[in-house]
């Protein structure tokens, strides 16, 4: 009953937060800003070509701002980062690092893909765009869904252990193992393999804005500026995912503090892990369906 109340409270709070924000207005706002910052990037790129003072600074500022508002949309792993934050015992610091590394790897991959594709394989702009959207985006959704699957599976397993334990309400009171997993035992992405899996699933799909910018800067022969701008764009993206990472860890902390008082922290964390894993799978599958048009 207490468990249901605790979980229910957190979920209701979550729904209240979602309901309080006009999602359509947020989407329109993000799109309008993206357009604005895209055009600002274009202005700076032209400025670099014509030797205008301040063009470098303008390009980097616009790229960072673009990265941030672009990350409001799907496919940037923020839902995966949020799911992991809520559903595992990963620390805020570690999750922020993972968010940052994911975004930077995404930027580096975009540079390798576009500059490599244009230089070595003579791809056309259309082919690169089609490859990113037709192959890499679905691959990323599948990989993110797989991470969600791991989360859900571990949550389910932890729940089973908790439920099998005769008196799981005494956790942390006897200082011994064997009474079911403590919050620290639940998947917390300590292993390098876990971290690599998360980073790869996010980074596999380069940001479309980065692809376009790199195609443009390659063609205009200002390639270093394009690469640096795309790295800075990644930092802008990381700004948003960092916010999600911190928020999710705080939300989990609030819920667990309450659950801990009732001695059901292990159960709550396991349940969170399962639910967030399922949510990540669900959202990934929706995005995959949209990407494949099925």
């Amino acid at each position: 009953m207490r468990l249901a109340l605790t979980l229910g409270l957190v979920l209701v709070l979550g729904v209240a937060v979602f309901s309080a924000v006009d999602m359509q207005a947020l989407a329109q706002w993000a799109m309008a800003r993206q357009r604005e910052f895209q055009n600002a990037m274009a202005g700076s790129v032209r400025g670099l070509r014509t030797g205008e003072a301040g063009a470098w600074a303008g390009l980097l500022a616009a790229a960072a701002a673009y990265g941030f508002v672009h990350a409001v949309g799907p496919g940037h792993g923020k839902y995966l980062i949020g799911g992991v934050g809520v559903g595992s015992s990963v620390s805020a610091r570690r999750l922020v690092s993972l968010a940052l590394i994911s975004s930077l790897m995404q930027s580096l991959w975009a540079i390798v893909l576009v500059y490599g594709g244009l230089a070595l394989l003579a791809y056309s702009a259309h082919e690169l765009t089609a490859f990113a959207e037709g192959v890499l985006a679905p691959a990323s959704y599948l990989a993110v869904a797989a991470v969600g699957g791991v989360l859900a599976w571990r949550g389910l397993r932890a729940l089973a252990v908790v439920m099998r334990t005769p008196d799981h309400s005494t956790e942390h009171h006897c200082g011994c193992k064997g009474h079911g997993p403590t919050p620290d035992d639940v998947a917390n992405l300590h292993s390098v393999k876990d971290s690599m899996m998360l980073i790869t699933s996010v980074a596999i799909r380069p940001c479309t804005g980065a692809i376009f910018l790199l195609i443009i800067t390659w063609n205009m022969d200002i390639r270093l500026a394009g690469a640096v701008a795309v790295i800075v764009m990644g930092l802008g993206t990381a700004g948003l995912t960092t916010l999600v990472a911190v928020s999710s860890v705080v939300a989990r902390g609030v819920a667990l503090a309450s659950a801990h008082g009732h001695g059901v922290a292990s159960t709550v964390l396991a349940a969170f892990q399962f639910i967030s894993g399922v949510a990540v799978i669900w959202i990934s599958v929706l995005l995959l369906r949209l990407a494949l048009g099925i």
Binding site: A27, A42, T129, I283
Partner: protein
Amino acid sequence: MRVRCVRLLTAATFLLGGAAVQAHPHAFVDGGIDFVISDRAGVATLDALHVTWLLDEFETLYMLSAAKVGLNSDGLLDSTDREAFTEQMRAWLANFDGSAHARHGASPIALEQPRSLEVAIVDGRLKLTFDRMLSEPLAVSGQEVEVGFYERTYFYAHTVTQPAKVKGAANACEARTFAFDPDSQSADLQATLQQLGREDVPDDTNVGVLFADRVLLQCD
């Protein structure tokens, strides 16, 4: 409990779906439509539509790059590049149906493929102007002709930003523009379209008409 979970996940799904950003439209085109009228034995006759496109700055650079054409150190196109690019644009424009969709009453007016294409860079934006000749010139004395300024799949969002002009035998006719009037239904549809990628095509391949600005020609 289960209901709450579903609601939370549904809310999360809306968040992601509604905020999709690699969405239709992908590029924005300002511009408009002018009417070319001749006087044939005292009858005002519509011969052609003169179309102007002004692409946004980012799409301008992307299109130039995709065509492997670059700006010179003045931020403009050299004549060789302009010719090469114009050549590519001729083929490309035909695929987009020229963005002018004319009707006379309930009947669509057949238009020829774009011709007399001219390309320029204006304040960092690609400006395309071209003519769409009517397959058969239309007597418009005492008549109205309506033209929608849109691209069918809404990959490009068109906005009429210049007053419509009547060229040639202009005395008998006047042209007016009508901006698209958004309502809640179109907002819902726009939210759905925002989920489409650059390479995707919406189910309704004529969806652009729903968001179109219009230009109306009225002749005495």
